[in-house]
Structure formats: C-alpha cells, structure tokens
C-alpha cells in the first residue's frame, strides 16, 4: 500500500499543480524524485510533526491541497491539537496518509503503534476515513480525496486481504447468509481473518474500507438482530454509529478490535493480532460465544 501511495502521489504532484506533499522525514527518500521535480511542493520539514500539520494548514489557507504523511502515531496522535486547530478550526482540509497502522510496527514496540488514530479523528467532525484492505484499494480514494477540499484520512497498513475490493466505500456483502442471519461487518484488512473465522457459520459477512462516513443505510438494510463489528483499530470505535443507526430496533452488538492495554510486547503483527483476539481462531471464539451463549 505504501508503494502504491508513493507512486500515485508522485504522479498526482506532476498532474495537479494545486497539490503539495508535506513530510517529516518518514518516506522522504522514496519521494526524493518527486521532490527534485517539484521542490516548492514537496516539503520535508524534518522530524517536526507539529510543524508538519501547521504547514499543511498554511498551505491550505493559500488554496493548495496538502497531502501529509507519516507514521500514524506521529501524524495523528502526536499532532492531534494541530489537526484540531491548524486544520479543522481554520476551516481548511488536508489529506492525511498514515503508515504503521495499529501494530504494523510491532517489533518497534508501543512507541510506534497507533490503534487509537481513528478514534481520535472521531472526536472531530466531518472526517472521511479510508482503511484499505489491499493495495488495490488505495489509488481510488487517494485521487478522490486530493480532488476535493475536505478532511480525509487514509490509513495504510501492511496487513492485507488476498484480493482487492475497491468499491465506493459502502457496505458490500462478501458472503451472504440465510434470511435474518447475523451480520458480521469487517473493516479493511481484517476481512480475510473474519471469513476464515466464520467458516461454516450461518452469518452474512459485509465489507467496507471507508468507515467514515459509515454506511448506516447499508447497515440498516443488511442488519437483523445480531451485529458483529470487526475493526483493525481500537475495539468499539464504530460501535456508537452502529448503535445509533439501529436505535429504533432491538439489536445486540459485539464490537471487536484492538484492546486498550499496552501489552509491552514486541513480536510480529500476527502475534499482536492473536493477543488481541483478531486472528481467525480468536474471532471464531468471540463470535461463537456471542451468537450462541452457553
């Protein structure tokens, strides 16, 4: 996904003189050719993430369309107040593109993890959030985001599904269940593990790679009484939206995702998926217990 982002952004910078890219050293080497072609619009401020977002706000105030890129934990967590004030409060948007989603950087430890990025942006209003599940789901949202003026977050991951499901971000049925079957919503790169987890269960599996704005119309069309939400970031991030969408119906909701606890462990992303119950076995266990309480 990161390579697709770099290639697409480099092309956009050439095609569209309104765009600018702001970096804080991360991926600067990969963007060096683009920086040579567009020295005034590829701006590496050094390891200064507060300035990175401030610069993006200033660029947008002059009418440019900034793309801002770093690790999620530095781009969103560290610069949260700049996102709130230098973008939102000034009435301007930007396209924020992160790598290092949740525990992609597991071996680097907690300092390089950000499972809370989408929840943080949820404290603000009006952000569009894309969570691609495959490299083939990056270019479309990126180009659409750059062509607009709004506030957009593109959350890239090294976790990926086997194949791309680009779509338009609305909930799409991947595996239909029987009439009234429980609905399992998978967001982005957790889909393949979800499909493996529910093998043999009578559930409908639906997919989205654009959790904000959440497709509540599609949700209401597909949901029966039981809904399971599986997200690759903090557990429960979207549960308030699902509950609000189904407020007029009796329903039960299970929200799965990354836990809040700092595990103080390294290992691989697969290890962390297992520890957070997001591998196929863990998901199977949680979903079965929810659907068929003993």
């Amino acid at each position: 996904m990161r390579e697709t982002f770099i290639d697409t952004t480099s092309a956009i910078l050439t095609e569209e003189p309104r765009t600018a890219l702001v970096l804080a050293d991360i991926s600067a080497a990969a963007f060096a050719p683009a920086a040579r072609r567009h020295p005034d619009r590829v701006l590496n401020v050094g390891i200064r993430e507060q300035l990175m977002i401030g610069v993006a706000g200033g660029l947008a105030l002059t009418g440019l369309r900034p793309i801002v890129h770093s690790y999620a934990t530095f781009l969103v967590d560290r610069a949260y107040e700049q996102i709130k004030l230098d973008l939102d409060h000034q009435g301007v948007g930007a396209v924020l593109v992160s790598v290092g989603a949740s525990y992609d950087g597991a071996s680097m430890g907690r300092t390089h993890m950000s499972p809370q990025d989408v929840a943080l942006l949820d404290t603000l209003g009006g952000w569009t959030v894309h969570v691609p599940g495959h490299a083939g789901e990056v270019t479309g949202p990126l180009r659409t985001a750059v062509a607009g003026d709004g506030a957009v977050y593109l959350r890239l991951s090294t976790q990926t599904n086997d194949r791309a499901r680009p779509g338009d971000g609305s909930l799409a049925v991947v595996r239909p269940g029987g009439a009234g079957a429980p609905l399992v919503v998978a967001v982005g790169p957790v889909l393949d593990e979800v499909l493996a987890a529910v093998a043999g269960l009578d559930v409908t599996v639906a997919y989205t790679n654009r959790p904000r704005p959440f497709d509540t119309v599609g949700l209401r069309a597909l949901a029966g009484t039981e809904v399971v939400l599986v997200e690759p970031y903090l557990a429960g991030t979207s549960s308030r939206l699902v509950d609000a969408a189904l407020a007029d119906r009796p329903h039960r909701l299970l929200s799965l995702g990354v836990g809040r606890e700092d595990l103080h462990r390294y290992g691989s992303a697969a290890d962390h998926a297992r520890w957070h119950g997001l591998d196929a076995a863990g998901l199977r266990h949680s979903i079965s217990a929810f659907l068929d309480p003993a």
Binding site: R48, Q82, D86
Partner: protein, 230 residues
C-alpha cells in the same frame, strides 16, 4: 510599503475603551497596540475592501490572547463595523476573547492556543511561493511567554534552515515568560539563520524601520520590548 494617513491615535483609544469598557487602564496596558498600529498604518499591504486578495500581505496574530488592540485597529481600518466592538464575546458576537478567522473579516487565523501561528505562517509562506506569489510578506505576532511552546522552535529552525525570506516574526516582549530568555529572545532566531533586531515596542518610528528591515534572503525577527506585564 503602502503609504497611509496615520489614523488618529485617540480614535483607536476610543474604540479600545468601547471594546473593553475599561476607563481605568491606559491604552498602553495593551502591549501590542503600537506594533499593530504601525503594521496596519505603515507596513501591511492589506485592503479592507478586498480582504481575500491573494496578493495581500498576511498578518497572523499567533498570540491570540487579549485581542482588544487587534480588534480596535481592524475596526479603525474598516475591516468590520465599529458597533461589533460593543458586545465582546457575547452569544451572537463575532468578536471573542480569542479571534476566529471564520467570523471576522481581515483575521487570517483563528488563534488562542499558543504556538500555532508561526507554523501556519510558514505554511502560508510556502504556499504563496509555490504559486509564484512572491510579493506578499507574512507577519506573525507572538509573545515572549508564547515562545515557551516547543512548536515555535520547530518553525524557527525550519524557516531559518530553508531561508524562508518572506516571514517576519514579531515577538512582543513584556517579560511574561516564567523562566525568561537568558541571552535574549532574538538570539533564539538568529542562531537559526534569521536576521533580528530588538527595539522599543513603544517607539513607532523604530518599529516601522525594524518591521521593514528584512533582507529578502533570510527570515526576520523583530523583538518589541514593552514595559513588564502588570
């Protein structure tokens, strides 16, 4: 530099009293008043009839605290009706204790949380340069206590290292920083490649010279020293 007729100081002072309802404090209690008056009367190329002209100079009040002098000067210049001054921070007032750019014509940034203006100013400078708008200057007003915020130092270092010559920072120094700035405020900028000058923040001629004293090769800082905060 645009030549303008100096606005009657007494008129600004009357607007200021109208805004604050304060007859006890002299206008000099407003540490930024002289800087703002010089900027808007003698330095900035801005036009209240065209507040969104892309080729205008930009003035960013980073230190959003106590914007009374700012509002009074903007009203005197005709950016908004004087009667707006009568309901400061009321429920329907566009003027609050920190300015909001979406509410007030002529206000370039919403500010109040310290340490945001210089980064935004660097971005505006870069954005104008990328679009070939090389004439406008960007003036960012900060306070000496505001410089405690580390975000300023990210912007100071970057602007100096890249020779971002269209920026002028103005630091109003009323010695309100808790731990002070031993060695002087200007040195924090000049060590990073800025030009810097320290002047009496009540001397309007000295301010006018300092605010136009940039060399067009490096960013410029003007430290305007006023009496210590009460």
């Amino acid at each position: 530099m645009r030549t303008t007729t100096a606005t009657d100081r007494r008129r600004i002072e009357a607007l200021l009293r109208r805004l604050t309802g304060d007859e006890k404090h002299a206008p000099s209690a407003h540490s930024t008043l002289d800087v703002l008056q010089v900027l808007y009367e003698r330095v900035l190329d801005v036009d209240p009839e065209h507040p969104d002209d892309p080729d205008r100079d930009r003035f960013l009040l980073s230190k959003g605290h106590g914007p009374a002098a700012y509002y009074a000067v903007l009203a005197a210049r005709g950016f908004f009706p004087e009667h707006w001054l009568d309901d400061l921070a009321g429920p329907d007032s566009p003027l609050g204790h920190h300015p909001d750019r979406l509410l007030v014509p002529g206000v370039e940034i919403g500010s109040g949380s310290l340490g945001h203006g210089l980064g935004l100013g660097v971005g505006i400078a870069l954005g104008l340069r990328a679009q070939g708008l090389l004439r406008p200057r960007i003036f960012v007003l900060l306070g000496d206590a505001e410089l405690d915020e580390g975000s300023n130092h990210e912007a100071v270092a970057y602007a100096g290292a890249t020779g971002l010559a269209s920026i002028t920072a103005i630091v109003v120094d009323n010695r309100s920083a808790t731990h002070g700035w031993p060695g002087g405020l200007a040195s924090r900028f000049t060590v990073n490649g800025w030009t810097g000058v320290t002047v009496d923040g009540r001397d309007q001629d000295a301010l006018a010279a300092a605010l136009t004293g940039h060399d067009n090769r490096r960013p410029h800082v003007v430290v305007a020293v006023t009496e210590p905060k009460e």
